[in-house]
Subunit: 112 residues, 2 copies
DNA sequence: CTGTATCCTAGCGGATACTG
DNA sequence: CAGTATCCGCTAGGATACAG
């Protein structure tokens, strides 16, 4: 009898649901790419800017801030350097994203 | 040595990555709610419109179309009735979304 | 080097009236 | 009942110049 997903259906409930925040965050364009990079090593700002081809500095900044607000990454600012690192919480999210990626690979509905 | 996530870093690669499509789809506002409802039983259009409080008919239509394009749901149109049903592929996605929801519940960074 | 400020476009999401 | 048409605001995303 219990619903498959414990999910609300009214709008206010929707906005208060814990899942929606993270879901809409990972749905943003560069979130997964950033997490993937930071999973291997810390990065500086320009380092990320150069490594990720196609992102603008503005969006890069904002996406990093969002990730920081959700405690997925941490930022340590020193003169001439900002170091972005994946947090433990961020690390626990990786397997879920990997699983989603694998699912997508299996079910990739290629539309021409 | 292999990267944690097999993810590209250029923009063209980004757009061709199978994961991005599904990620950006589930990141949309009503996707998860729809999947959750259809997981339990088929629904008609107005039935969904009435059950989900806060969605507009336009967005409801578009979200359903997106889900249909990704083969997560199927639509059977008969006179006076459109029946939306979760596909097998859609059903395999549920555990992943549930896992994400649980992750969010555990790490819900409530920012006031 | 690490951002912010400014300006722009496109698409999401919404409200509502109308059509088959 | 099941949508579409039309309108609108907001925000994601981008380009680029400037600032600390």
């Amino acid at each position: 009898m219990s619903p498959v997903l414990p999910l609300p259906v009214t709008e206010s409930d929707h906005d208060n649901c814990a899942a929606t925040g993270i879901l809409r965050l990972v749905g943003q364009k560069w979130t997964v790419v950033l997490l993937a990079l930071l999973a291997e090593q810390p990065y500086g700002f320009n380092e990320l800017d150069r490594t990720i081809h196609g992102v603008s500095r503005r969006i890069l900044t904002r996406t990093l801030r969002h990730l920081e607000q959700e405690n997925l990454i941490s930022r340590v600012r020193t003169p001439q350097r900002a170091e972005y690192t994946l947090t433990d919480a961020g690390r626990t999210l990786l397997p879920l994203i990997i699983a989603l990626g694998e699912w997508a690979a299996d079910h990739h509905t290629r539309r021409p």
